[in-house]
C-alpha cells in the first residue's frame, strides 16, 4: 500500500502565544496515512492547543502546518469533509434522536462521496459499530455518559474521514468504559483505514492505542517514536548502586554497562551488592509530569484557564 508512505499531516515549528505566555514554542512532527498517533503529555503541555490548530479551530502564532495537503486555517468544506473531529458533547442536540442526528450529520457528506470512499457511513451499520443499535430511537439527553461519548465518535466518523482527531477521548471514563472505547477506536481505525491523532495524558492509553507516541512537554515535542523506541530514546539515567569496603555508593549514569565495566576494572571483586535500576518509559514520563505539576501556573495562560 503506497498510500501508507504518504504524509497525512505535517507541522513544522508551530508556535502559539497568548500575550506574553507561550503555550507552544516549537512543535514539529509528521504523520503517515494509516498511523495511529498519540500526543501524550501532562496537563498544560499544549496538547489541546496543538490539536485545535490542526482541526482548523485555532489560528497559530507561527509555523508551517499542512493537514491532508492543506493549511487548516484555509481549509474549505472539501477539506473539512475529509477530516473527522470527535467533540466532547455536553448537552447539544439533547432532544434529537440518536439515528435522526446521525442521519442528519451524514447528509452533509453525501456530495463528497468518491469512487474509493462511500460517504456518508450507512447509519445502521455505524450504529452497530459503535454499539448504539438498541438506542437508535432514544433521545440523546437520555443516553448514559459512555453511550453519549460513543455517539460523539459516531458523529466524528459518519463522513468516513481520512483523518480523525480525538482530544482526551477517555477523560472521566471508568476502566471498563475505557477498555470498550479503546476497542472501538482500534476497530474504527482498522475498518475505515483511518489515520488517527489522539491526545491523552495517560501513558498506558497511548501505549495501547498508538503505533507511535509523541510526548509534548512545555510546548515542545520532547520524544517521538514507537513505544519501544521511546523507551530507548528518552531513557533517563540508570541508577547504579554498589558496596565497596563496607561503604554504600549510588551513581546515576546514561551508560550503565560501560560504567560497571570500569568499576570492575578498577576494583575487581571487591565490589558487592551491585544493583542496576533501569529507567523505564513510565519513570521518565512520570518525571515529566511531576516537573510540569511543580511548575504549574507558569505555563498555562490566564485567558484559557485549563488547557491540556
Amino acid at each position: 500500500m503506497t498510500r501508507h508512505q504518504q504524509i497525512a499531516l505535517r507541522i513544522d515549528g508551530l508556535r502559539m502565544r497568548y500575550g506574553t505566555a507561550e503555550i507552544l514554542t516549537d512543535v514539529t512532527f509528521q504523520m503517515r496515512h494509516g498511523e495511529i498517533t498519540a500526543l501524550l503529555g501532562p496537563n498544560g503541555a499544549g496538547k489541546t492547543t496543538t490539536i485545535e490548530v490542526l482541526e482548523g479551530f485555532r489560528q497559530p502564532s507561527g509555523g508551517q502546518i499542512e493537514v491532508l495537503g492543506t493549511d487548516p486555517a484555509q481549509g474549505g468544506s472539501q477539506w473539512r469533509a475529509r477530516v473527522g473531529v470527535v467533540l466532547q458533547s455536553w448537552r447539544d442536540h439533547a432532544r434529537w434522536r440518536v439515528r435522526e442526528l446521525l442521519a442528519h450529520q451524514g447528509r452533509y457528506y453525501t456530495r463528497y462521496a468518491t469512487d474509493l470512499i462511500e460517504r456518508p457511513w450507512d447509519v445502521d451499520d455505524l450504529l452497530e459499530v459503535v454499539g448504539l443499535t438498541d438506542h437508535a430511537d432514544q433521545q440523546v439527553r437520555l443516553l448514559s455518559g459512555g453511550q453519549r461519548r460513543r455517539l460523539d465518535v459516531a458523529i466524528g466518523v459518519v463522513g468516513r474521514p481520512e483523518l480523525l482527531f480525538l482530544d482526551e477521548p477517555t477523560a472521566g471514563f471508568d476502566p471498563e468504559a475505557r477498555r470498550e472505547f479503546h476497542d472501538l477506536v482500534l476497530r474504527l481505525a482498522a475498518e475505515g483505514d483511518t489515520t488517527v491523532l489522539l491526545t491523552t495524558h495517560d501513558l498506558n492509553e497511548a501505549e495501547k492505542l498508538a503505533d507511535r507516541i509523541l510526548i509534548l512537554d512545555r510546548g515542545r515535542i520532547v520524544a517521538d517514536g514507537t513505544p519501544s523506541e521511546l523507551a530507548r530514546q528518552i531513557v533517563g539515567d540508570d541508577l547504579v548502586r554498589w558496596t565497596h569496603n563496607g561503604q554504600r555508593y549510588v551513581r546515576s549514569t546514561t551508560d550503565s554497562t560501560s560504567f560497571i565495566f570500569q568499576l570492575f576494572q578498577q576494583y575487581g571483586d571487591a565490589i558487592t551488592d551491585l544493583e542496576i535500576q533501569r529507567s523505564s518509559l513510565e519513570d521518565t514520563y512520570l518525571h515529566l509530569v511531576r516537573q510540569a505539576e511543580a511548575g504549574a501556573g507558569t505555563t498555562t495562560s490566564p485567558e484559557l484557564g485549563e488547557v491540556a
Partner: protein, 281 residues
C-alpha cells in the same frame, strides 16, 4: 443536485426537526403560555373601544399583538444562538462541511416556523373572541405577506447579530427587559397617539411599532385609522423602516457570525461548561 441546493435542503430538514421538537411533549406547554396569556388579555378588553374609534380595543390589539410576536423572533433567535454556542451545537456545525450554513438555514426555519405557529394560535381563536377584525380582502392578505416577510427578516437577522455578540445565555435573558419596555411604548395594547410625542419618536425607531401598524392596516377596517399617527396607515414609511432594519441585519449578521464562528473551539466550549458548572455547583 447542486451543492447549495443540498445545503438548503439539509438546513430546512434540520429546521423542521427542531420545529417539531419545539411543539411536542413538555415543550408544548411553554410554547402555548404567552399566546394564551395574550389572548386572555385581548378577551378582557373586548368591550372597551380603542381611543376615539369605533373599533373594540380587543379587536384593535389582536393585529398589534401579531406584530409584537413577530418581533419576538429576535428574542428567540438570540436565545437559541447564545444557548447553542454555549452547549457546543455551533462547534459541531463548524466541524461539519457546510455545517454553519445548514445550522443557520435550520435556525431561520425553526424560528420563522415557531412565529407562524404563534400567529395562528393568536389569530384563529382571536377572530372568534374579539370583534372588529376583518379578514378576506385581497389587499389585506397582500399587506400581511409583505409586512410579515420584512418583519421576519429584520427581526431575525438583528437577533443573529445580538446573539453572536452576547457573551452568555444569561445576558440573553436580560434582553427580554428592554423588549418588554418596547412593547409598552409601541402602541401594541393601546393606541400610540395616547403617549407623549418624544416617546412616540423613540418607538418609531424600532420595528415593533411598524409591525403592529402594518398588521392593523391588514386586519382592521379603514375607519380604525383615525387613532393612528397622522390618521394614516403609512405603508411607505412601514416598508422603509422595516426594510432598513432588514438591510442592516443582512449586511452585519454574516460578518458578526463569521467572526463568532471562527472563534469557537473545543477548549472554549469546555471553558464555558466549566464556568457554568462552577456557578451551579
Amino acid at each position: 443536485m447542486p451543492g447549495s441546493t443540498r445545503t438548503l435542503r439539509t438546513g430546512v430538514a434540520r429546521g423542521l426537526v427542531e420545529l417539531r421538537q419545539g411543539f411536542t411533549g413538555v415543550e408544548l406547554a411553554g410554547q402555548l403560555l404567552w399566546p394564551m396569556v395574550t389572548l386572555a388579555a385581548l378577551f378582557l378588553v373586548r368591550n372597551r373601544s380603542a381611543g376615539d374609534s369605533d373599533v373594540s380595543l380587543g379587536g384593535w390589539a389582536l393585529p398589534s399583538a401579531l406584530g409584537m410576536f413577530v418581533t419576538f423572533g429576535m428574542l428567540l433567535m438570540v436565545q437559541h444562538l447564545s444557548a447553542e454556542r454555549e452547549d457546543g451545537t455551533l462547534l459541531r456545525a463548524k466541524a461539519t462541511p457546510h455545517g454553519i450554513q445548514g445550522y443557520f438555514i435550520g435556525k431561520l426555519v425553526t424560528v420563522s416556523g415557531t412565529i407562524l405557529v404563534y400567529l395562528l394560535i393568536l389569530l384563529l381563536p382571536g377572530l372568534f373572541l374579539v370583534d372588529g377584525v376583518v379578514v378576506g380582502s385581497i389587499g389585506g392578505w397582500a399587506t400581511l405577506l409583505w409586512v410579515l416577510a420584512l418583519g421576519l427578516i429584520a427581526t431575525q437577522s438583528i437577533g443573529v447579530v445580538i446573539g453572536s455578540l452576547l457573551p452568555s445565555p444569561r445576558a440573553a435573558g436580560y434582553l427580554a427587559l428592554p423588549v418588554l419596555g418596547l412593547v409598552g411604548i409601541s402602541g401594541i395594547f393601546y393606541p400610540i397617539t395616547a403617549l407623549a410625542d418624544w416617546v412616540q419618536w423613540i418607538a418609531q425607531v424600532f420595528p415593533m411599532y411598524w409591525l403592529g401598524l402594518g398588521m392593523r392596516s391588514a386586519f382592521l377596517p379603514n375607519d380604525a385609522v383615525s387613532v393612528e399617527i397622522g390618521a394614516s396607515w403609512r405603508h411607505l414609511e412601514t416598508g422603509a423602516v422595516l426594510g432598513a432594519w432588514a438591510l442592516l441585519g443582512l449586511i452585519v449578521a454574516p460578518v458578526v457570525l463569521r467572526r463568532m464562528a471562527r472563534r469557537e473551539s473545543g477548549s472554549r466550549v469546555a471553558a464555558r461548561r466549566e464556568k457554568l458548572l462552577q456557578r451551579v455547583g
